[in-house]
Symmetry: C2
Subunit: 423 residues, 2 copies
Amino acid sequence: MSTGSSTSTQGGSHIRLTSHPGQGAGGAPVIHWGAADPKERGPLIGTTTNRSQRNVIGTHSGSYGVYRALAVAAGNLTKGHRADLTNTAPTERIGPYPQWADPGKIVSIDPWGASVAEVFADELAQGMDIRPTIAVTQAHIHLPEVRQALAFQRLSVDGKFLLEDGSAAVTKIAVEPVWWLPGVAKRFGVSEAVLRKTLFEETGGMYPELVTRGDLEVFLPPIGGQTLYVFGQVQDLADPGVTLTARVHDECNGSDVFGSDICTCRPYLTHAIEECIKGAQAGGVGLIAYSRKEGRALGEVTKFLVYNARKRQVGGDSADKYFLRTECVAGVQDMRFQELMPDVLHWLGVKKIHRLVSMSNDKFDAITGSGIEVGERIKIPDELVPADARVEIEAKIAAGYFTDGSVPDATQLAATKGRDLVE
Amino acid sequence: MSTGSSTSTQGGSHIRLTSHPGQGAGGAPVIHWGAADPKERGPLIGTTTNRSQRNVIGTHSGSYGVYRALAVAAGNLTKGHRADLTNTAPTERIGPYPQWADPGKIVSIDPWGASVAEVFADELAQGMDIRPTIAVTQAHIHLPEVRQALAFQRLSVDGKFLLEDGSAAVTKIAVEPVWWLPGVAKRFGVSEAVLRKTLFEETGGMYPELVTRGDLEVFLPPIGGQTLYVFGQVQDLADPGVTLTARVHDECNGSDVFGSDICTCRPYLTHAIEECIKGAQAGGVGLIAYSRKEGRALGEVTKFLVYNARKRQVGGDSADKYFLRTECVAGVQDMRFQELMPDVLHWLGVKKIHRLVSMSNDKFDAITGSGIEVGERIKIPDELVPADARVEIEAKIAAGYFTDGSVPDATQLAATKGRDLVE
């Protein structure tokens, strides 16, 4: 296989193609995923400028790597720019925790991703192009729903977690995906070979190294990552004696930003933030883990096609047909793969979630299945379910979502209807 | 070059690698980008199951193609699933407009992407795997800021655009990126060969076909797309006689969803929505074009690293150093490339934006440079600029952002300070 040919059919200049086994392997640090000592684990190097250093497939910044390439092509970004990491270090120290040294617990993020400038200082000084895949900072966040909770006296200002101006003080953490392919394969119960082959073929041939470079075990996929918002002390997340209120939320731009009334996403998210603030004020800690998985990771085009199919079907948009319509268009009901979601909880050292603000059985099963205890499950208050979202919530409850009420039967599901399209 | 070798180093089964020039070219429809007749333009086929039909590089759903691959690997999605497009057609007819037939006006989306089921019905019946890249639906959106505007009587219910329950009726449109590489190269003033080579190299070797298949001119990049929200009649967007209020907004999850006070993103967005509703009520039409370009398309990890560097620098977070810190970490001040942004406006037939709710000179220049007239520019009201965002807005005004006030000088910039980190 010669994907690394150095000739080109485009332009006249030399093109460095996909790397080969053996090529430059001498200079690239070896990765021992799950090693407790970061030096033994080794740095991840996804540089695009020094092939001999590369020890991963793909490159940094998730899908924004494509924009970085565009910036180089357009002449805005100097090829080979190295980030000046001065003053960028995390505002909070997180870990290391024992979970970091368990290659079964964390397979889709790099536990050392926030601290590369510290733990790989020597390698950076030697000129290796090592980049943070996690960044930790602080923020004040203002949500109109929190101000409303203040006005209705459901929340009160304490000056530390919730400030006089209605803003909440948080630590926030951005996390880039880093997939250790043997571990990801195991998580899904398939062979690594099948995973690699399918990732390659079903993306239309992205990264031939997935199939040609079995020696490269780490893949930086061009997908969105996660953002974590912590209310209270970050270190308390690892202490099962401190009450943890948490929501794992999957992106829904149409509701999270624009407030579409067809689903419960933003109302449930802002309810969870309110619960997190209350929890921190009561001596606990709160966590929102926000994943970029728009439309159940089907993307928004598919999502909107499904909305139309739901609303136009014979009999209208009813809860009993909710999942069917997604499956007709997308082939699956959901592609979010909660199997990888708990990784970030293990990175934070979480052992117990006392109050899980989610009704999703997929999320619950993934969290508990990964060895994290879950106490109470907090459902969205009925009065927060928007007009057109009743179809979704009833369908999900019938399919196994947590409820403390009754599970709707077939007749009730057929009778729960959404708004028609007006064309 | 033999990237299409059929042998494998992984597993025992046959792996279909990247296609070659000549391979299967007989069966794949030819694309004539910019042809007025969709039949002459030809369908775009990014199928992962029938190589002989493929006439693009990459595959559908942007970065969610990786999740689709995961779904096949995990056995959740049947390989080769074909979408059932029954009842998914757009709720509004858009175009065709003369701009669709101008290959200089639209290079990064497929103007026929919403109507494939109609215009390529014959090809679909013949078994070609043609997928929509645009979906058009309707929604009611509820924003707390709109309810507040109602409470303060800045807005009033009309029963059509703004409803009794405080929700706004919109048409919303999801758009997937589709890059015609010759046109994208021209837009950035580089040769197509350089663009292809750089996209390949600087993504760490994504899609060798970028350099091996000069005959494939269309690339479906694994990046986020756009969502359009229209207030009023979609068809009015193409009529320069109808007053158009518009904002082109780039994603900022930290503000748009969580209300971080370090920037003006959500306040400016919700102000624009208020202006769009007012505009529709006054007989005009409103448009929000929301692009998935988190953190100036640098991604959120880089963004948070920059926040830390800004707040820890000697002298604190001051407006005169605002751009410098981003450049130190990322190598550029911005990677959003407004050059491609106007495409979606041309797709909607827009010839004039009467009221542009944006102060960005990059956006203004890109829109007017593409031949769209801009009337008034609407700045964010001072009272909506959050506490910690003064640094950003002053730095941007000094750098050329639109203002109807005075441009700060060096002394004023140095004196405009943000909050310190509390560590």
